[in-house]
Amino acid sequence: MAYTEEELKKELETKEYEYGFYTDIESDTFPVGLNEEIVIAISKKKEEPEWMTQWRLEAFRIWESMEEPTWANVHYEKPDFQKISYYSAPKSADPNKTLDDVDPDLLEMYRKLGISVDEQKKLQNVAVDIVVDSVSVATTFKKTLAEKGIIFMPISEAIKEHPELVKKYIGSVVPQKDNFYAALNSAVFTDGSFCYIPKGVRCPMELSTYFRINQAGTGQFERTLLIADEDSYVSYLEGCTAPSRDENQLHAAVVELIALDGAEIKYSTVQNWFPGNSEGKGGVFNFVTKRAICEKNAKVSWTQVETGSAVTWKYPSCILKGDNSIGEFYSIAVTNNYQQADTGTKMIHLGKNTKSTIISKGISAGKSQNSYRGLVQINSRADGARNFSQCDSLLMGNECGAHTFPYIEAKNKTAMIEHEATTSKIGEDQIFYCNQRGIDTEKAIALIVNGFSKEVLNKLPMEFAVEAQKLLEISLEGSVG
């Protein structure tokens, strides 16, 4: 079949979610609704110390006084926060279990998702901390990491085992009052990952977490806290995917990265949550606050491939506090059908000679809306700060939209800021050229999209890049041709 705009559009509309299944696992679920008692109950369930309970309550009170933001370029029916259950743990979870003991249903779920929690990962040097709904069920590689003094564990455990670290850093980058969703997360987060890399240590493997949303009608509130002590290095991978559900599911995660003097953190995300069906029904609402603070000579890179969610609201940011610190943001955001994404980054230059790079690739198909929103802020004492931003959009069909909102606030005359933007369309002549060389339309689109996204794909660790590439293919041309 030859490619036409019309046909492509139709095919993309009928593309169904690849991972639309639901695994039946007995859950221990709280009643719906949110009040101080629920917050206290969550904290109790997690056997948290008093200071943590108080911290949550403080967040809850702040949240109660806040309004849901409306400035993003997304339109959706606001979730009813009193209709959500704030705690859901698979009954079979037990931190002392080995992989052999893990519920076969869960393992089957991972298998369907193509997630392998087995020896393969070991060979690939990936330590996996898996999060199903809200509780970690399996942790591998703890020992190898422990030898280097690296702490990598569910945050719920870290609160008990390393309270001094958690207490010192939680909320230090994203305070409870930061925004509506962050406040909510601070009050009700059930789990997530905690990671600490000691001074001068290079983490010998990629750290990885897979997130899932499984139970219908439960929100997922992950909390990730990653601290790279002076001159340390870590690369962290986060991937997720969710089964298809009818009602909208809320996800409001908070990720805090702390890169102390001379430390480097690479944080890569592949996100594939259920985007809703072809009529725009269902799908995950993804409201995430991700932020990093960079001390002197530190470097943080955010790399993300976003193909899922019905509504995405997400701006991984860097506060370049220390002199000579570097922030990078590499992003591919794909939207299809009725998906809406408002993503981007904020680079806040506080220190001298701070540098930031932003490469954003937006791919829109169907009736989707893809917005890039970036803020580059150069403070008055940030002499010699530099930023380079490049935002490219690729459109497929005539009904989708790509929007770019670059905000620049420079309060220092020595700042050097460059911004480039392009918009292109996949052309029939490009498709025919590929066809003529024996490449069918589906593969041709994959090739063109991969080419378009290459600069960002190249930033991902090898195995992850392959997965991401597959994901791009699945989400765009699974049924074209």
Binding site: M1, A2, T4, G427, E428, D429, Q430, F432, Y433, C434, N435, Q436, R437, G438, I439, D440, T441, K443, L447, I448, N450, G451, F452, S453, K454, E455
Partner: protein, 250 residues
Amino acid sequence: MLKIKDLHASVDDKEILRGINLEVKAGEVHAIMGPNGSGKSTLASVIAGNERFEVTQGSIELSGEDLEEVSPEERAHKGVFLSFQYPVEIPGVSVTNFMKTAINESRKAKGLEDMPAKDMLKLIREKSELLEIDRKFLSRSLNEGFSGGEKKRNEIFQMAMLEPKVAILDETDSGLDIDALRIVASGVNKLKSKDNAVILITHYQRLLEYIVPDFVHVLHNGKIVKSGGKELALELEEKGYDWLKQETAV
């Protein structure tokens, strides 16, 4: 090998090809000449299966098989190759990656495994040497920022990699400098065999001095108005097309 009968094709209800008859046998070289806008590129596109053009009448057969229901990629798998007059750019996709994909897609269609990397590299080395292409060039994005001549040479590199049965070269000579023309032409000559055929679309006699055609056809207004041997090209070079246009008008 390729048999075109009474081919009519149009785009947006505008008829461009108005009854083309052409038979190309294995081992032959045919040249198609004709004034701008006469339908040469359209004919090439239609043979390759571009669905922008609607075939309203007539047929195209490849080795006895009617191509009407055959998609462009399947035609490619069956050995049809088109060197484009205006090759398109595909940013971020290297020449090597593109060729690897093309070759493996063709192999997949034939039920074969992917070509082993070692063989692929060997093939690339061999063919890039044949066309005197700097290997660095092959890691660049396909056609992006290529000069006109580089694009054309790259098309023939792809032809060499894919080893088609019927190769249509649409004005491959335009844009090539004198040395490049010689290199490309000698490449084409080396690829030629008694089992394949070449159709050269050109405006100039010069190319035909290097790749000597068995037949020369003149396309005008969507029809072949004159066919002859290689001397016809010389005659056209000398006299232009006016006399033919007048002849057909009568």
